[in-house]
């Protein structure tokens, strides 16, 4: 069982940070909807609020790590330019996708959309985390704040979903791979 360094970094970016970020935002959205429709307002202990704050900060942090890892580590490998004369484009995912009319859309629409919309998610989630950790009681006096937080959380969810979907689709059509091979487990025949 082995994996290349590039494939491993790509998986860490998408499946670990991106995947957990998406699930964590979903949790925030569910909680925002739930708390908007409760008859009895919630009561948390001081430790409960601390854990809630930690959850929100970690959620925003996951988003930032996912986009930074994607943009500065994985994306340069994705858009690497093949040297002249190279016919095997397996190590050049963008060029591999653009070499066929059947796959060019995964770059033209998928990556072009993903590389920008994904950044909206951590920006929105940072704002949501800030308001919910520092000014949560303000939502009681100003219900419009809850609306704003919910809208931005939904936009974060949509943005991260678009990025996650196209990331998975692009990786299945033209995976980022190469570099040193990491041997994880040697199996028996």
């Amino acid at each position: 069982m082995e994996i290349t360094v590039r494939a491993f970094a790509s998986d860490i970016h998408g499946m670990l940070f991106g995947g957990f970020f998406l699930m964590a935002i979903f949790g925030v959205v569910v909680e925002l909807f739930r708390s908007a429709h409760v008859e009895e307002p919630s009561k948390l202990t001081a430790r409960g609020y601390s854990l809630e704050r930690l959850y929100l900060i970690v959620t925003a942090g996951l988003g930032w790590v996912a986009v930074l890892l994607g943009a500065y580590i994985v994306y340069p490998w994705y858009r690497a330019i093949p040297p002249a004369g190279v016919t095997n484009l397996a190590g050049y995912p963008q060029h591999l996708l653009m070499a066929s009319p059947l796959t060019t859309g995964w770059h033209g629409l998928g990556m072009e959309w993903k590389e920008h919309i994904s950044w909206l998610a951590p920006i929105a989630m940072t704002m949501v985390a800030y308001v919910l950790t520092k000014h949560r009681l303000a939502m009681k006096k100003y219900p419009q704040i809850r609306t704003a937080v919910l809208v931005f959380a939904l936009v974060a969810l949509v943005s991260a979903s678009v990025a996650g979907f196209f990331g998975a689709m692009i990786d299945s059509n033209a995976p980022v791979k190469g570099g040193t091979t990491i041997h994880l487990v040697r199996g028996n025949l």
Binding site: P41, V131, Y142
Partner: protein
């Protein structure tokens, strides 16, 4: 006996109401909209102009992406700091702040959608 023990560490949302100004929250909401919209505008500009794309190439391996996103984040953080300082003690009409922020957010979603950006650029 434990039931009689006062729960000092319980924070009750049902009785606690924040009477502080909403300027800090308004600044966070509006600046998130500004930063998002800046990202969309810069993405379209870098896509439509070779000069802007070249100017936004802060880090060659990523192309203009690094410049577009770094600049947008800078716009977001500077506008947040500026508005937070300016509105710190003020109480604003949150509905108006929300409306502007939502319009900016909707614009950012449109501008980052490649078919819409291509339409704007006449591609």
């Amino acid at each position: 006996m434990n039931d009689m023990k006062p729960q000092k560490d319980v924070l009750d949302d049902s009785t606690a109401i924040d009477h502080s100004p909403n300027g800090a929250v308004s600044a966070a909401i509006l600046s998130a909209g500004i930063g998002s919209c800046a990202l969309g505008i810069l993405a379209v500009m870098a896509d439509g102009s070779k000069a802007v794309a070249h100017w936004m190439t802060f880090y060659l391996p990523t192309g203009p992406l690094a410049g577009v996103t770094s600049t947008a984040i800078l716009v977001w953080l500077i506008s947040w700091a500026f508005l937070a300082r300016r509105w710190r003690t003020k109480t604003l009409a949150i509905t108006k702040v929300n409306t502007v922020a939502f319009v900016l957010l909707a614009l950012s979603l449109l501008l980052t959608f490649p078919p819409f950006a291509d339409l704007l650029l006449g591609k």
